[in-house]
Symmetry: C2
């Protein structure tokens, strides 16, 4: 940080913008749960596995965790402690098995960028990402781009343009960049590309406000 650098300005070097996953604790169990979601979909009812027994084992694990978990209100408080990126969101969160997860990095030019390879659970058309999954990735990425640019808010309007199908099973590049701030109105754009070709673009209008954090 130079003497001229003000705290509200983005730090001008690439920086990881998602919570680093740990190889232990709940992050490891969540990574395993992602493998299980994929495996269930691959198996379907097309194996000789005793699925009633599989269901029983998964239910037992869920019961064990639920019994020991803090109450919902208490957990919401710990989830929302601290500043910056979250560990629980459904796009990047290392504690959320819905998240592919997408890894995002703040760039020196003020934009952010990430990569992700989507598997079978994210399928819409055959062999392609669900259009709504692309929307989910982009809404989140635009939000993080606002955070990286120094002023974030809540989505007011989001427009997605689907240029070509987004493939599963290969690396996708997801980008976001804040383009303007006018009072409380923030405009942000982003895209998903595969092999250098744009598949989906997004334009978002965000309003600079936040809901209160649980306390």
């Amino acid at each position: 940080m130079t003497a001229e650098h003000r705290p509200s300005e983005p730090v001008v070097r690439p920086e990881r913008l998602v919570s680093a996953p740990h190889d232990e604790g709940v992050d490891a169990a969540t990574a395993a749960a992602r493998r299980l979601i994929d495996a269930l979909l691959r198996a379907g009812d097309h194996t000789d596995t005793d699925m009633a027994d599989v269901a029983k084992q998964i239910d037992a694990l869920a019961d064990q965790l639920t019994e020991r978990a803090p109450g919902l209100e208490e957990r919401l408080v710990t989830m929302w402690q601290g500043t910056g990126v979250t560990r629980h969101d459904p796009v990047t969160g290392p504690e959320n098995a819905l998240a592919p997860p997408l890894e995002l990095t703040g760039q020196e030019d003020g934009s952010i960028q990430g990569t992700v390879t989507l598997g079978l659970p994210y399928q819409g058309p055959p062999r392609c990402a669900h259009g709504g999954v692309s929307a989910l990735l982009l809404d989140h990425t635009l939000g993080v781009a606002n955070h990286w640019a120094g002023l974030s808010g809540m989505t007011a309007e989001l427009t997605l343009r689907y240029l070509r199908p987004t493939p599963l099973f290969e690396p996708l590049t997801v980008t976001g960049r804040q383009i303007s701030v006018d009072g409380k109105k923030i405009r942000t754009v982003g895209s998903i590309t595969a092999g250098g070709r744009a598949c989906v673009t997004a334009e978002g209008l965000f309003i600079a406000k936040q809901l209160p954090r649980p306390s």
Copy 2:
């Protein structure tokens, strides 16, 4: 069906538009996996559970299923057999643990409607649904509304307007309706409401084409 009824017209009575979940087989294991995803998020690293052991048990189940599962190409073929709604999609699919799942029903007036209660894995702002999750639900619902109206296609453009936060933990009503067809261009609208108040509205432009099914 009256003598005047043509097969391409929607049947004019409410009809379940998502695959009925079974209480056995992979559907039961998938329902258990949804409970596990939620339980992991509720527990976080805030319990005395041996998470390394939990991870090991989940990994063992994933390994067991993956080893017995058909190959990916073979599985893609079975996934896409038949007509109508899918069992594997990330919104309504009884075989996909990412799906909340949303249950959709075709209405006599040509629209479709469904209900869903979203839990912690779908959180964006505190206690509210992630804006991208609302986009995912609506993109899918608009697509199913097109199917119900008799002509479906792929999303070309989707615009979402966020009117107020969408709450977690209470029943949401998701609706969709095809409003026009002009050549290959299909226009469709939808909304998510909570307690009778609109939270998110969507307008979609779809193009009447389909990617080839794996065979």
